[in-house]
């Protein structure tokens, strides 16, 4: 396990970053989510948001009600305790996302990986991915882990606009752009599945720990 003793640092006046480990790993990520769920459900006074990252989490609080000095040791203590109690389980959901593999970068991904476009599609659709975290823009889920043969670095220059619903890959990850946004990943397909709807509860389709499979449609 790559878990270390939790270390708190201020991230500006209203946030405290708590590092729980040094090296990114599925085990550490699992621990981060368990701690985030525990802190999130603890109703700690002045805390209004708990946001997981890969090696730690960030707690947003009201600095007019308390101070960093008061808050940080309290949070570190709570994080330490989660390691020793049974992590609160959350229901893991399995999703199937239909994809038209018609992406603008499908050909270039094929040539960069030395595979045919059909092989790229077959391999992308063969795996079950897990949701590492949500972030970047509303509802964007970082999904791991792409098969090694498909792993290529992100595009050197991000595109100013990637259309909502674009299914893309970069390095060891894949994901679906929930809205029109600049983006640097390789677009291999598109889906009509709505990844984020602010009027829905919860608004994001995917949650950390969920599993996702892509299904080829024509």
């Amino acid at each position: 396990m790559t878990e270390n003793k939790p270390v708190a640092q201020p991230l500006g006046d209203s946030a405290i970053s708590i590092t729980l480990g040094s090296e990114r790993s599925p085990q550490l990520l699992h621990h981060v989510h368990a701690v985030a769920r525990s802190l999130g459900s603890a109703r700690i006074p002045h805390v209004h948001d708990v946001v997981p990252g890969y090696v730690g989490l960030t707690v947003f609080y009201d600095p007019l009600g308390t101070t960093y000095r008061e808050m940080a040791p309290q949070l570190v203590q709570r994080c330490e305790r989660v390691g020793h109690e049974r992590a609160t389980r959350r229901e893991r959901r399995d999703h199937v996302i239909p994809v038209r593999y018609d992406g603008i970068d499908l050909e270039s991904v094929a040539s960069a990986t030395g595979l045919s476009t059909d092989q790229v599609v077959a391999r992308h659709a063969a795996r079950t991915y897990s949701v590492d975290l949500l972030g970047f823009v509303p509802g964007f889920a970082y999904l791991s882990e792409l098969e090694p043969a498909l792993q290529i670095p992100r595009r050197p220059q991000p595109r100013p606009r990637v259309a909502a619903g674009s299914v893309a890959i970069a390095a060891a990850q894949t994901g679906v752009y929930p809205l029109d946004t600049p983006g640097g990943w390789h677009i291999i397909g598109s889906t009509t599945t709505v990844m984020f709807d602010p009027a829905r509860d919860p608004p994001a389709l995917l949650a950390p720990g969920d599993s996702v499979r892509f299904e080829r449609v024509s």
Partner: protein, 316 residues
């Protein structure tokens, strides 16, 4: 109701932002200069998180279809109400039918207009603010256009006395270029010379600056630190991408990011950053988190003072 008679190139509905949906990837959003909006709200006896107009890039006009009081704050602008000049940070009475015209923004970047009752657009994820990239929030998830009509909420307090003016010493020092910062979560990845460059150089706000972030031009802080595992960020973070030129994250910044976070702008000084236009300069001064939080508490106390004085200005 207010009607947008002539929309400026940028006009949105904003409030204090979304503070509980970051884990779903939803940026904080809200007013770029949230203190200025809060002051405008205080001057018309609105709750501090009421929605107002965020106005930039040029002139335009709105018409009040209901009697109300309003106040402007933030950027310095030439504003008239049916031909009379309107003083900034001043409770001003408008009759139904009056037209408020912003002739031009003179200095600063974002002008705020609060009306008694607040702008009554639907609450979405706990906020009325417009998030343009996601096409949601505010008025139909978009910028306001000429002809749009926005309802005003019910007034919950009597109108403060017209002409009440917020003293300048209760406002941020928009005329200074000094922005206080605290060490960021990756502050120790940068050596002494990188810190010396960050705190001793002048940085210029680039034209590549919007509600997401302000790119800063000046001596590169450090290079080839690459990217790190994605970690949560927030408005005010000063991150250093590969080219070494710092970027100050602003209201609509992504909730997570992989660039090293060298520092974070003190929240009390974030209005000064927000109001900088492309070409304007900034200097950073390192302070401790305790100093920064004290400054923020002083700012909150000033806002409280403004709200109390405005309420006391309610005629008997």
């Amino acid at each position: 109701m207010i009607m947008i008679s002539k929309a400026p190139p940028y006009l949105t509905v904003q409030d204090a932002g979304r503070k509980r949906s970051r884990a779903a990837g939803v940026p904080q959003g809200g007013a770029m200069d949230s203190f200025a909006l809060a002051v405008a709200n205080a001057l018309v006896a609105n709750a501090p998180d009421s929605a107002g107009l965020e106005w930039a890039l040029g002139g335009g006009s709105i018409r009040f279809d209901r009697e109300c009081v309003f106040a402007t704050s933030g950027a310095t602008a030439a504003v008239t109400l049916s031909t009379r000049d309107v003083a900034p940070c001043t409770t001003t009475y408008a009759r139904a039918g009056d037209v408020l015209t912003v002739e031009a923004i003179i200095s600063g970047r974002f002008l705020y207009i609060a009306c008694s009752g607040g702008l009554d657009v639907p609450l979405l994820l706990g906020s009325r603010s417009t998030y343009l990239p996601g096409h949601f929030g505010g008025y139909q998830g978009r910028m306001l256009r000429s002809g749009d009509c926005i309802p005003l909420g019910p007034e919950t307090a009597p109108h403060p006395k017209t002409g009440f003016h917020c003293a300048a010493d209760l406002m941020p020092r928009y005329d200074t270029a000094i922005v206080h910062i605290t060490r960021g979560t990756h502050g120790s990845m940068f050596d002494e010379s990188a810190w010396a460059r960050l705190t001793e150089s002048e940085y210029r706000v680039s034209t590549a600056s919007d509600r997401t972030g302000y790119k800063l031009e000046g001596p590169p802080v450090g290079t080839s630190l690459g990217t790190l595992p994605s970690e949560p960020g927030c408005p005010g973070v000063i991150q250093v991408p590969q080219d070494g030129s710092p970027i100050a994250l602003m209201a609509d910044a992504p909730t997570v990011g992989g660039y090293p976070k060298i520092a974070v702008a003190s929240e009390a000084d974030l209005p000064i950053v927000a109001q900088r236009r492309p070409g304007d300069t900034l200097r950073f001064e390192l302070i401790t988190i305790e100093q920064s939080q004290r400054a923020l508490r002083r700012r909150a106390a000033d806002l409280h003072t403004i709200a109390q004085l405005a309420l006391r200005a309610v005629p008997p």
